[in-house]
Symmetry: C2
Subunit: 146 residues, 2 copies
Amino acid sequence: MSRSIHKLVVRPSAQQAENLRRSRRDRASEIAQDYVEAIVDLTAESGEARVTDLARRLGVTHVTVNRTLARLRRAGYVNSKPYRAIFLTNAGQKLAEESKKRHETVVAFLRSLDVSEKVAELDAEGIEHHVSPETLAAFERRLKRR
Amino acid sequence: MSRSIHKLVVRPSAQQAENLRRSRRDRASEIAQDYVEAIVDLTAESGEARVTDLARRLGVTHVTVNRTLARLRRAGYVNSKPYRAIFLTNAGQKLAEESKKRHETVVAFLRSLDVSEKVAELDAEGIEHHVSPETLAAFERRLKRR
DNA sequence: CTAAAAATGTAGCTTTGGTTACAAATTAAA
DNA sequence: TTTAATTTGTAACCAAAGCTACATTTTTAG
């Protein structure tokens, strides 16, 4: 194919390449979502979100949290100062709300298929970042219909 | 000045931390799955899978393909020699079959929820790597029931 | 108040997956 | 068969996300 007819078959490949490229691009924001969600939860639970709390919750070292927070600060999702608690910007709060809602929908949907609670949580963690608005709407439709 | 206390590494990981850590670990094999699937497809379509074909299909440069193939060779999924076509090992074929089946199930399932074909393909690309056997079984159950 | 403990920050290394630029090998064409 | 085009390989770079080791700051206990 490479040497003869590749131009004739370019369409399907192009589509899939685009799909995969999107997959990869999306990944950049997945971690951001995990972080803002965790920040919201921790703030609700204990009044403030600290680096160490985040590290424990996210299963990484405080060093990783630190560096990632720097990126999120640059991206405008969080406000934080050295040795102080971490706060979300408006953009960060919006992202967190959307993420949380999506997460809950995915979990509820999986539960509605009789997936066990533990596995539903587990799978949702990975799946939620790849659910488009259209698919999310389909999930919600299904949930309402029972 | 240096206190240099050798702290023992404590791992009191919460459930969610474990979930996220799994997410990350899983990611390592996602690319492998994309590659072996693409190799199967290309071989079926045109008799052999070449570096350039893979690059086009996966939406990356041939350099990336090259380096990733080296890793897959090390991992025992592919056999390849310089300037020659790429073949799957038995392990690679097994992985490809499983991946393909999972992909098809996810797409069919989304389609059964009236998600459009294009979006179903798009979302499946990201979702399929995070679907546990239990959830996959739930999808299949649902598909049979209609 | 002081000293130890805990939290946070910084330096520097690793791996992975991406890139461009250029070199070498193979294939196709004149 | 010699040359041009295409494919493949290599070198050298980048950024993200992970780590350990160590330094600094803040908090807490005595």
